[in-house]
Symmetry: C2
Subunit: 466 residues, 2 copies
């Protein structure tokens, strides 16, 4: 089990030094899944333990999945910790159960559970660093995923080598190097049959996309992706620290809201402008999930207009208001607005805050009698991507109004339809998992209209709660 001097250990050491991952006295929690990555990570850290003067503590979570396989992994890690004489915190928690209780997808839920437990152990054991086994292939796959799914600029970084207490010493080591290291040093591992994050998508990238890209580029293109990610990581950090300095200098806080003088925003280069706005939203919202590229662009665009007053919703009860002198980022008081709410494909749903009832039913195409009725929508059932939700309108919303053949900003639609600012907040927007399907009382989306070939019609009726 003793690892000699190897190229892999040297390369990992280079990464640790470059990103200052370890300092003397660090107590490092090593998240060990029993797979090759975490086993290589553990053995590399064992080898470097004395050089950096650090202590190790193992963490493992048995999710109780894969028909007992997960418990064999747990046993493997337990025996390992005993053999190495390193403390282990082992949790046995059903991911299935957690996911059900929280109403999350398996992937999201299992990840949340693991991170919560890691955080808990980190507090109890006075852990200063948390090491995970992410490798360069994970990084390249993540970059491609983000590039396709769309993110802000974070996407091109993929997975950062460090993030708070988290360190990823293997992040620039490719999977084949890790497997070779394990083979040569006779390191046993268990093959992990599930990949908790985005299983289908990541596998399609790994097994279809990357091989095709390799074939047509005839180059070692994964290295190119990683090189770009490394460069961009540093540029991103520099731009962020510069933006933060400016942000704290120009922004003001009044009544718990963030005020940013518009004149200052306008004087910034566009690159910082966008980042500053995201920082402000992050301060109020806690994170930047669900803040789309379009929402940020629209807010920046609105600055060009001298006189107009704006008030827009963002997800999680955030609101951006523009007066003549400031952009104000604030939380919306919850009672005044309705929530994003799932509505059944067939059934009844009550929207108390707006005093409305939404009824849905599915009928055969030939049975549907389509009437001209502002409070009822007739939609092509097969063009809807489940699930169906109702929510207030948000900054960045776009749809294709029935009869048009290209998208339109919802904001422009409201202006054309002369809907008053105040009224806009109370109009229910029906959306499926990908797009707006109905601006209730105004217009359905072109993409979900009933066509001659429509087989099933989804009828949605909205009426006042009596």
């Amino acid at each position: 089990m003793m690892i000699g001097k190897t190229d892999l250990v040297d390369k990992v050491k280079e990464t640790i030094d470059e990103y200052n991952m370890l300092i003397s006295g660090d107590k490092v929690l090593v998240s060990v899944s029993a797979g090759p990555d975490s086993m290589a990570l553990l053995h590399t850290l064992l080898k470097l333990k004395n050089i950096y003067d650090i202590n190790l503590h193992l963490f493992h979570l048995d999710h109780l999945t894969r028909e007992g396989q997960s418990s064999i992994d747990a046993k493997f890690v337990k025996e390992l910790s005993e053999k190495l004489g390193i403390n282990l915190t082992l949790y046995v928690k059903s991911a299935e159960k957690y996911v059900k209780e929280k109403g999350l997808s398996f992937e999201t839920g299992a990840r949340e559970l693991r991170l919560n437990l890691i955080q808990k152990v980190a507090n109890q054991e006075k852990i200063t660093k948390i090491a995970t086994g992410h490798n360069a292939n994970d990084l390249a796959e993540t970059i491609l995923m983000r590039l396709m799914r769309g993110t802000g600029t974070k996407g091109m970084i993929g997975i950062s080598p460090t993030q708070g207490k988290f360190i990823r010493p293997l992040i620039y080591i490719f999977r084949d190097e890790i497997e070779k290291f394990c083979y040569e040093n006779k390191i046993n591992y268990r093959v992990d049959q599930t990949n908790l994050e985005s299983y289908y998508f990541r596998n399609a990238i790994r097994n279809k996309l990357i091989p095709l890209m390799r074939e047509i580029s005839k180059k070692d293109f994964l290295k190119n992706l990683i090189n770009f990610s490394k460069i961009y990581l540093e540029e991103d950090r520099f731009l962020n620290s510069l933006t933060k300095k400016i942000y704290y200098k120009i922004s003001k806080r009044k009544n718990n809201d963030v005020y940013i003088p518009i004149i200052e925003l306008k004087n910034l280069p566009p690159a910082l402008n966008r980042r500053l706005l995201r920082l402000a939203i992050e301060e109020k919202k806690g994170e930047l999930l669900d803040i789309s590229f379009n929402a940020v662009e629209d807010i920046i665009d609105s600055l060009k207009n001298e006189t107009e007053f704006f008030e827009f919703n963002l997800p999680k009860f955030m609101k951006v208001v523009k007066d003549k002198e400031n952009l104000v980022i604030k939380k919306i008081e919850k009672q005044k607005i309705f929530f994003k709410k799932e509505i059944p494909m067939e059934g009844t749903c009550i929207l108390e805050t707006l005093n409305l009832v939404i009824e849905t039913k599915i009928v055969d195409g030939k049975d549907a009698k389509i009437k001209d009725d502002k409070t009822t929508a007739y939609l092509d059932y097969e063009s809807i991507i489940p699930k169906l939700y109702v929510r207030p309108w948000e900054f960045g919303d776009r749809f294709i109004p029935l009869g048009l053949d290209k998208g339109k900003k919802l904001q422009d639609f409201f202006v054309d339809e002369k809907v008053a600012q105040e009224k806009r907040k109370t109009i229910p927007i029906l959306v499926d998992s990908e797009k707006i399907v109905w601006i209730v009382g105004y217009r359905i989306d072109e993409r979900v209209k009933v066509k001659p070939e429509t087989r099933k019609v989804l009828i949605i009726n909205v009426k006042e709660l009596s």
Copy 2:
């Protein structure tokens, strides 16, 4: 032929305004190929002509290709210019002939010829802007190409909306929007059967990669690529202008060389550090072609070492020297160094500057008698990617020395082999189109060694010119 108000014209106008592409009085050369992109560009500019107060001048180049088809394109453009009453400069030049004379690939040569002629017309006609028809699909394809082939950070910008006099008003318009615009406005165009740039690679991206990415992402991922490119364009411009300011402040010029104080470099954030070094190389070299990621990283790495003196070659007779206080970027005097030179797969090649003869021949695997001889290399012919070249060593060079299973910096190899700094410049390096194959007199590359299954052996002998 009169185009009414359309969404496409509005969108193009937005791009023109956002990137300040046009100012009153501009004389715009429109490069018209006769294809849909350039026809849509021309008609959009005609529509916006009075709004911006600009003049148009057409440019077309008949390459004399495609069995007379190119001349039909030229006739089409000529008739168009007469009908519209707009001046046209029409060139008829054989690309084939130009390419042969210059010894370039068809793609590179045809592009160079076109750009030279455009530049010539621009000077003659006092042109202030040159408009080309690149669209959003071209942009997305270019980003993917660069991402796979590897570039510095420029890759993620793909094609910049403006570059010197060049403007690309359609850069954020997708191909299907352009075709629809042409269809609806009855704009005739000619289908261009050749794509001059990187024909195979770009087509593989267009016809295989993008459809697969669309299928597995289930999203409009091209828009995500373009959004990232737009953001990064601004960040890149900002970082560059910041770096330029610092560069001119800290760098000094002595005897035509650029001196950068190392202490100043070390105080910069890594993001600017890398850009500053590239700027310095660009100043001396004129451009940054062939300056690899690895070369720049190696130079930056060398700064960490307090005492070591470095002297390294870069392509095009560039040299980076590190003394205790400065990085010095200089041109190498040509007579002192040999050039990159193609050598035939079978034949003789004389390297006068080093007083050497290189002889190559290909023999059947079973006929090859492999001898242990420092001046002769025996290589697996099928592992060589034509063509073969000899050149001096360059910063960033890496190879896999015979017997090792992973890459090594050539610099480290020389240190291990105790080759003196001065001698390193005179060692011929044999390379194929992708990799180093032989460090003459020292070691061949593992990837080109003769294997049991080798069918043909390439024998290379290097000896003193007598």
